[in-house]
């Protein structure tokens, strides 16, 4: 099961949820039981990774109605556990609503109001060009230019979510490639590569990112790259640890013995098996990257006007907080709600998919 690339995992037919099945005692292989009571000291983690005593918990056995033991995939089992976690499910639903609202909202709003409620529409009539408190027409009020705040918050959500996802993807690419290479090659190369990561960990990056964005022309691409480039380090460490524990298993040896090239072993055999922890960590990276984007935008270094992101909206709101408090309250609430939900989903996924991972 562990050798399956992720695409095949999705093909496993889902079974009807069975009440008695859920309550049946779950028999776990000893390694999984040990893994759940694992020790969290750095050495223990290192030992786990080194001796491969902490493999991805691939299979759990469930007793079917007929009393037979039946294997269940990691993914289906994780989904079962995730569904039991009320906070995570609530987070998933709220995240879904916010994503859909951000994607479709601005367009629907523009069509419904014939173009007067968009992120950059400034009314022609002078008396409308002012910050108006929330009303039926403008549920979140307007900003000092008379632009509808609901449209701006929804549009800002598009940008913020996009920055979060793209930057996480960038960090995923770098981190997985780096960690898998270091872990698989091992020895001196591994030592050198991980020392470099140690060194980079100690550098106060945010300062360098601030310098980078302050000096160069601000663009979304630069923002993606900068945020992605500073969040891959932990990912690299996680992937390396996983690969170290996997690379001496038989299926890798088998691949090597039939002459599969190194890059292909890493890409086809090792990386797919590290997917669990990687997904968990990526889910937790998204909110932290979104927070960093907002932080940079707040300082005037991220997304530039007339575009809006939640960070720029909060910054505009903070300037006028005494007179127009709704300018910061609504973007602040929506942003906090999104991060709150994403963090709950990440936490829930971690508990469901990878109980051994340290809880931060």
């Amino acid at each position: 099961m562990s050798q399956q690339p992720p695409s095949e995992i999705e093909k496993i037919p889902t079974r009807n949820p069975n009440e008695s099945l859920d309550k049946a005692p779950t028999l776990a292989p000893p390694s999984t039981v040990a893994a759940q009571q694992k020790i969290n000291t750095p050495e223990a983690i290192a030992a786990d990774q080194l001796y491969g005593t902490a493999p991805p918990s691939n299979e759990l056995w469930q007793e079917t109605a007929g009393g037979q033991l039946e294997g269940t995939s990691l993914w289906r089992d994780a989904w079962r556990r995730l569904k039991k976690n009320k906070f995570a499910m609530l987070g998933l639903i709220v995240t879904g609503i916010i994503i859909v609202a951000s994607l479709l909202g601005p367009t629907l709003l523009r069509i419904a109001t014939k173009g007067t409620h968009t992120y950059d529409f400034i009314p022609q009539q002078g008396e409308l060009v002012r910050a108006m408190p929330p009303s039926l027409n403008h549920p979140m009020g307007t900003d000092p230019q008379g632009r509808d705040m609901l449209a701006r918050v929804l549009y800002g959500g598009q940008i913020s979510l996009m920055v979060g996802l793209v930057s996480t993807f960038v960090s995923l690419l770098i981190g997985v490639a780096y960690g898998a290479t270091a872990g698989y090659l091992g020895g001196r190369v591994d030592n050198l590569m991980m020392r470099i990561v140690d060194v980079l960990f100690a550098i106060p990056y945010m300062m360098l990112v601030i310098v980078l964005l302050a000096l160069f022309e601000k663009s979304l691409v630069l923002l993606f790259a900068a945020l992605g480039a500073i969040s891959w380090l932990t990912m690299a460490r996680i992937v390396r640890g996983q690969v170290l524990s996997l690379k001496n298993q038989e299926f890798v040896e088998a691949a090597r013995s039939i002459g599969v090239p190194t890059w292909k072993i890493i890409l086809r055999h090792l990386v797919p098996n590290t997917l669990g922890p990687v997904i968990v960590y990526a889910t937790l990276t998204v909110p932290s990257v979104m927070l960093q984007e907002a932080f940079l935008s707040y300082l005037g270094l991220g997304v530039q006007a007339p575009r809006s992101s939640w960070g720029t909206l909060a910054a505009e709101g903070a300037q006028n907080i005494a007179i127009f408090p709704w300018l910061i309250i609504f973007p602040g609430i929506v942003m906090a709600l999104t991060l709150f939900s994403l963090n709950f989903v990440g936490d829930g996924l971690r508990d469901a998919l990878d109980p051994q991972m340290r809880k931060v």
Binding site: A202, L299, P325, L339
Partner: protein, 315 residues
């Protein structure tokens, strides 16, 4: 141990130089310069300015000279605030940022450890759920939203605290004892996120440790619950927190940039951003070097502390 410390100290110097070099390279590669005006300068004036600041030399001469001066501790005059040396600005602004950062740091440690431990001791109680929900909120609420909200409530509605700025209560040199009325809101704003992280780390660390055999032994010996928790469990339970305190400092440094902007505090953060926007190379390099040294030395201290708390670690 001594060898480890010496080795680490030897690594710190090249790393600081590396960080400064990156910042230096970014400034040199970036478009624009500190003397640019909207109308542009006559060519002769520009030539003279470039000559005065040595910008007409080749890049390696400039780089070598800058690095040599930095290693002697001389960052030169700021380009923007022309009558002040970088060292004077650092001397003025660093105590403000340091006081703010340190207060937030201690606040986060105290509250985070207390609530994390209590949550672990009363797992699944209302206190546990309450503090963990509050911690999640602390992680999700950006400090530039939290700060203005606090201002809105405590300064602009209740009029309890001043909304911004900074005052020393007792002034000693360029630092002193801060006025707590001005310090409170910025420190709370800055500390919120790290309090939340530390509380979560403490809770999970303590939950691990409390199930260990040696805790059962300690209880079986008849020790009071307080002694079991404080003398035995806490020592092992806070290891994840200790390893987080290193990175936390780097984050707090970045956090002060925002909090200083929110509360209009004259600390290093505002100077730093303005230095980058104004292409004020000496000031930018000065602050970068200062912070890099601070973070790296602190990381070393954390590693040393780790060895004292956890006797299994040998360097």
């Amino acid at each position: 141990m001594l060898r480890f410390i010496i080795r680490r100290l030897l690594v710190i110097l090249p790393m600081v130089l590396l960080v400064i070099t990156i910042a230096y390279a970014l400034i040199k590669l970036a478009p624009g310069n500190f003397y640019a005006t909207e109308r542009g300068l006559p060519e002769a004036v520009e030539r003279n300015i470039r000559q005065k600041y040595g910008l007409d030399k080749s890049w390696y001469v400039q780089y070598g000279k800058t690095m040599w001066n930095i290693m002697r501790g001389d960052f030169g005059f700021s380009r923007k605030y022309q009558d002040q040396t970088v060292n004077e600005i650092l001397w003025q602004a660093a105590p403000v940022s340091a006081t703010l950062g340190l207060t937030a740091y201690l606040l986060a440690l105290t509250l985070g450890l207390t609530f994390g431990t209590l949550a672990a001791l009363r797992q699944n109680s209302a206190l546990d759920y309450g503090s963990m929900a509050a911690a999640m909120l602390g992680i999700s609420l950006p400090n530039f939203v939290l700060g203005p909200l606090l201002v809105l409530v405590f300064a602009l509605t209740l009029f309890w605290l001043p909304p911004a700025r900074w005052e020393w209560w007792v002034k000693i040199g360029s630092g002193g004892i801060p006025n707590p009325r001005f310090l409170l809101m910025p420190a709370v704003t800055l500390a919120a996120l790290y309090t939340a992280y530390i509380a979560r780390l403490t809770r999970s660390g303590m939950l691990e440790v409390l199930r260990k055999d040696y805790i059962r032994t300690a209880r079986a010996k008849g020790l009071s619950e307080r002694q079991v928790v404080i003398r035995h469990a806490l020592r092992g339970g806070i290891l994840p927190v200790v390893s987080f305190t290193g990175p936390a400092l780097a984050f707090i440094v970045a956090g002060t940039v925002v909090v200083e902007r929110v509360f209009a505090i004259p600390g290093l953060g505002n100077y730093f951003i303005n230095a980058a926007l104004n292409r004020d190379a000496p000031l930018l390099l000065g602050i970068t070097a200062f912070v890099a040294i601070l973070v790296l030395v602190f990381n070393l201290l954390v590693d040393i502390a780790y060895a004292f708390i956890d006797p299994r670690i040998r360097y």
